[in-house]
């Protein structure tokens, strides 16, 4: 932790860090006593070759072999992509490199030296920075405060730092501002992290790891919640860092993005290396995708033909002020029976509020929500009665983790016959119902007496789907329904969405995953700054158009001949 080191040395280092105008990233590293991949190692032929090398790395969790004798290396000045589906072992490998996890066996070398981190702080002291999907900035503090929080000791210093160590706010602020200017980022030093958009938080975290003297970056699914323009900016930043000498391990499953960015690529599947260090420029992406998944059928879109019926969900003029983010500003939406509408946008642009209002859980400041003509605005009970089903993005909000499967599955109809008589629950009926339902929705294991919290993420989502979609809902609102699921579970959930629509339900998919929306939705609505900035049929969805409108810019279709103007054309679009 952060409370050791010699006061004198620490002060020198800080003075170096905050040197007015003169500081640069490499100087920050020098001040931290970290030799870059430059002069120190150039004389040493072996070490200059690799920034990181892991040989025969294995790691097991209980009975599961998460990594099985994996070899992986990273050259200085390259971006090496690590791809694979969920559970392939990417994150485990990243954590081992970062020092968060220890390998059961195998040897690691960092810039030519033996490297055996025992904990996270060893990794950061050695200059390895791990930027996780769930960012690790403390959200209640400012960026400048985060830079000092957990800052590693200078390597080589064993003397204790004084306790308590004074936090110098102006120095920290200056450091953030200097690095931001240098990297051409607009990261505000004095804003509370919670108030920053996700993309800026991510930049702030990368910036801080550089300030801490990182000489190797691991980015874990960095683009999963970003819009197209933000992803572009991220790619630019990565390339720039690479060119300035910071090698990057880039974990993703988005192949098009990797083609733009990565030099080499390694595919993991079920803890093993499938292809090692392929040159991206020469690789066949289609083939890589197959290698990743192993089962090509999962990649195929099986969109059934859906027949549109009457309007079932109607939202008109929704206004909602929110504590963080823009809330909703005059959002209207109508969805017909058999229709799947995708709501896309950069996270924090009103998606959660929309999901809440459509399902009656949030009362809008103005506007109405109707289901089959019945008003349900701001009344979760009425919405449930009208047949609303919700898959919340935050799964902790959708399941009672300490209740059993049976108790969870009954939540919507606890008082209905045959599950209760005279206000007393009939456990045998509930159990039977639970087993049948769990089997129907492929919840594993389908054991009614099991705690819901003990299921895996995918099975929790299936459990929630089973509860919500058991009796064909009139309206299904699904927020990020397959986020973080393995392909099989994801497939199952998507099929359930199609099934609901096929049986005459109106489906709203709210997701930052554009591929998911492209696969499921017939019609796309773009939410930006709490407003609907564009609507179009899914066949008109292009990344250029999405990029522009998700960023709140107007889409000028003139560049693309033959396209219909935004907002018309889509079926059921409200004016």
């Amino acid at each position: 932790m952060s409370s050791d080191a010699n006061p004198g040395i620490a002060n020198e280092a800080r003075a170096g860090d905050a040197g007015v105008g003169s500081g640069s990233i490499s100087q920050a590293r020098a001040a931290h006593g970290i030799g870059g991949p430059g002069p120190d190692h150039d004389n040493d032929g072996y070490a200059a070759a690799l920034a990181f090398e892991g040989l025969g790395v294995s790691r097991a969790f209980g009975a599961t072999q998460a990594l099985d004798r994996v070899d992986f290396d990273l050259r200085p000045g390259e971006i090496h992509a690590l791809v694979g589906e969920n559970g392939a072992g990417k994150s485990t490998l990243a954590k081992i490199v970062a020092g968060t996890l220890r390998a059961d066996s195998g040897t690691l070398r960092l810039f030519g030296e033996a490297y055996s981190p025992r904990r996270r702080s060893d990794g950061s002291a050695a200059g390895v920075a791990h930027v996780r999907q769930q960012l690790s900035l403390v959200r209640g503090l400012t960026v400048a405060q985060n830079i000092e929080l957990g800052r590693p000791r200078r390597p080589g210093t064993t003397a204790r730092r004084p306790w308590p160590r004074v936090f110098n706010a102006s120095e920290a602020r200056a450091e953030v501002e200097r690095l931001a200017a240098e990297l051409d980022l607009s990261v505000p030093a004095d804003r509370i992290v919670d108030d920053l958009p996700l993309a800026v938080r991510q930049q702030a975290e990368i910036l801080i790891s550089l300030a801490w003297g990182a000489r190797l970056l691991i980015l874990d699914e960095p683009s999963s919640a970003l819009g197209p323009l933000e992803t572009e900016a991220l790619i630019t930043l990565c390339l720039r860092l690479r060119d300035e000498g910071t090698p990057i391990i880039y974990i993703s499953h988005r192949l098009p993005e990797l083609a733009e960015l990565a030099d080499r690529l390694t595919v993991l599947r079920q803890g093993r290396v499938v292809t090692a260090g392929t040159d991206v420029a020469a690789a066949d992406l289609r083939r890589i995708a197959e290698l990743m998944v192993g089962d090509i059928s999962l990649l195929e879109v099986r969109r059934p033909d859906l027949e549109l019926g009457e309007v079932r969900l109607e939202a008109d003029g929704l206004l909602l002020a929110a504590e963080h983010g823009p809330g909703l500003r005059d959002v209207s939406l109508s969805v017909r029976a058999g229709e799947i509408v995708g709501v896309v946008g950069v996270a924090g642009n009103g998606q959660e509020e929309l999901a809440g209002v459509l399902t009656g859980q949030l009362r809008p400041d103005a506007g109405v929500v109707r289901i089959d003509g019945t008003e349900v605005t701001g009344s979760p009970g009425a919405a449930i009665g009208a047949g609303v089903a919700l898959l919340p993005e935050d799964r902790t909000a959708g399941l009672a983790a300490d209740f059993t499967l049976a108790e969870n599955l009954i939540a919507r109809r606890v008082a209905d016959a045959p599950f209760a008589r005279l206000g007393v629950r009939l456990r045998a009926a509930v159990r039977r119902h639970a087993r049948a339902l769990a089997e129907r929705f492929d919840v594993r294991p389908p054991e009614p007496a099991l705690r819901a919290g003990s299921l895996s993420g995918g099975n929790q989502q299936k459990l929630m789907a089973a509860r919500e979609m058991e009796r064909d809902p009139a309206v299904l609102v699904a927020a990020g329904p397959t986020k973080g699921l393995d392909p099989h579970a994801g497939r199952a959930i998507r099929d359930r969405c199609f099934e609901t629509a096929g049986r005459g339900g109106a489906v709203v998919i709210i997701s930052a995953d554009l591929d998911e929306v492209a696969e499921l939705a017939q019609r796309v609505v773009v939410l930006s700054g709490g407003r609907v900035t564009d609507r179009f049929g899914v066949e008109e969805m292009t990344s250029a158009r999405l990029g522009a409108v998700m960023a709140g810019l107007a889409w000028d279709p003139s560049g693309e001949a033959g396209r219909s103007p935004a907002g018309s054309g889509a079926p059921g679009a409200t004016p």
Binding site: M1, S2, R120, S121, S124, V138, R139, G140, P164, R165
Partner: protein, 312 residues
Amino acid sequence: MGKLAELTFWTATFAGGMRLATPLIFASLGETIAQRAGVLNIGLEGFMIIGALTSLYVTVESGIAVGLLAGALAGAALALLMVLLCVRLNANQVVVGFGLTILGVGLTGYIFRLTTPLGGERRQVNILGEIHIPGLSDIPFLGEAFLSNSWMTWLALGLVPIVWWLAQRTVFGLEVRAVGEDPDAAFARGVNVIRVRSIATLLSGLMAGLGGAAITTGLVGVFEPAITAGRGFIALIVIIMVRWSAWGVAVGSFAFGLADALGTNLRNIVSDSVPTEALQMIPFFVALVILVIGARRARMPKSLGFNYVPDR
């Protein structure tokens, strides 16, 4: 009733407020640190009473300095139990806090009865006198009410800026806030969540022990069962009211101490027309009002009350 208009009445009441605020300042300052770190210690009452008994008994034997130290250490010993159960073993903080209250009250009751035979002599110390600062303490009203304190009160007031500085101006303060707001992120930053929470809890125990010591050695001079009279819970209310701010703790504690002193001093004046019980209710009524006002704006540390379980 005419006495209400006399300055001496108010001088005495404000001075009494300072005196009665002293134990609260100690206890709530420490608790502020613990709560900011996400540890909800509702066992403050137990910590205080065990500090009260220990400091008194040790003072009788070895003098006030050793006595205070022993009181603080007794509070810390109970806090160590809390660290073990909650921070290390993830036991429910409210259950443990409640259990520690009963433990503290029960243990002190046991020791007191065992050492004090019925009708026998109670152990007693002279309560701390005021320090007279030439010039300042003689200023009418202001000096007499606010600047004529015992050194225990001065110590409490002196701790306020220290705790403020620790919370606002040091990396430890940042770490405390970080582990109270978002322990997962703090852990990922490289902060040792368990250690920071342990230190914060121990500090709260030390200071609650001092708060208890301030009651026996500073206010009463003897121990009796339930002598803390709910001050541990009042301290929790003070913290909510002042939103975890060190300076606020001083003000909030004084507000409560003043209400307490007012209730006591009024008794001498109006006891014929108003039942004493109604006057005794004044501080609790003030606390209720404070609680209601405080709750409307309270923004608690996000993980307050929840243990940290490393989640990978």
